[in-house]
Symmetry: C2
Subunit: 189 residues, 2 copies
């Protein structure tokens, strides 16, 4: 994971659909993309400035009278070209970091309950995530009847569904294994 600044393409991809401010980009990204690629303001604003300088986006001040001043960005032809170029290049392999697995891997140093608690918290967290994804899925299925525009969004939602389910199934399996080892350790009274 390096070399090509991915933030650039998330911004270009979103702007290809509609004109947005930096703030809007963050909201859109949080809503639709964050589950597989998070970005923060600290990346968005500097990247927008860089993109403008390179002529891949243009900036104008929003004419809305109410509310604070907004900078609206639009993608240029050059920007669209660069986005398309990126879309045709094979992606790098995915990049995952699971601190929980590290802490479990070295788990023999702490009481088993510590590891079990960890997995429980993980389960709770991802039960919530799965619920959200199922809501998404339902909403998308309803609108997809009208136009197939949301197909690619739907495919990423399906990914989340599979992953969160895998998380939960693993958590139960792992808890059961830990339970068994504990039972073996203590004699029946």
């Amino acid at each position: 994971m390096a070399k090509e600044n991915t933030t650039v393409y998330i911004i270009l991809g979103l702007l290809n659909h509609e004109d947005l401010s930096g703030y809007d980009i963050k909201k859109r990204a949080d809503y639709m993309i964050a589950s597989f690629w998070e970005i923060g303001y600290g990346q968005i604003y500097p990247t927008l400035a860089k993109l403008e300088q390179e002529g891949l986006v243009t900036k104008r001040v929003s004419e809305e009278s109410k509310g604070p001043e907004r900078n609206l960005y639009s993608i240029t032809e050059a920007g669209r070209g660069e986005l398309t170029r990126w879309l045709k290049v094979p992606e790098q392999k995915e990049y995952t970091k699971y601190e929980i697995l590290l802490k479990l891997f070295f788990g023999s140093l702490v009481p088993v309950e510590e590891s079990a608690k960890r997995i429980d918290a993980f389960k709770t967290r991802h039960t919530e995530n799965l619920k959200m994804i199922e809501m998404f899925k339902g909403n998308l299925q309803r609108v997809m009847g009208e136009d197939q525009d949301h197909l690619f969004f739907y495919i990423t939602v399906l990914f989340g569904e599979r992953i969160y389910n895998a998380y939960l199934e693993w958590a139960d399996e792992a808890l059961k294994l830990l339970q068994e080892t504990q039972d073996e350790g203590q004699e029946p009274s």
Copy 2:
């Protein structure tokens, strides 16, 4: 994902089991940990130097006559204390970046076959990974009969198994959806 340098704890965790050189650490980490947290030499050697300075590990030159010179590192009591402290702290949420999902998400800009090819490559890659994980699992199950020492390793392997299976099932589902859209687009001849 920041603040606590995780490389530190991977190194301490491995050294807690046995004395190792930087090179050994890389090999062990590649073998057992890389599927959920990768580290490189560029992190290992500087971190070892820092840990030595802080008194969490000690360094000695290996006495083996043959082969190039090796620096062997051992964990200290302070190091073990720091490792245990870390193990008791709740982990941060997992950190995933899937470039493939980004390229699919913005996929309406390129021909559908482009997206399908992408998913195919993803499938091939992870079919291999799943094969490797199943081999691991078989080996571990054999040795776990003797001692339960490998339980935590086994639990991380189970995680990999679930995830890779989820990847493959999603890939098939996504390919089927793409196929259907293409079929709708063209009239039967």
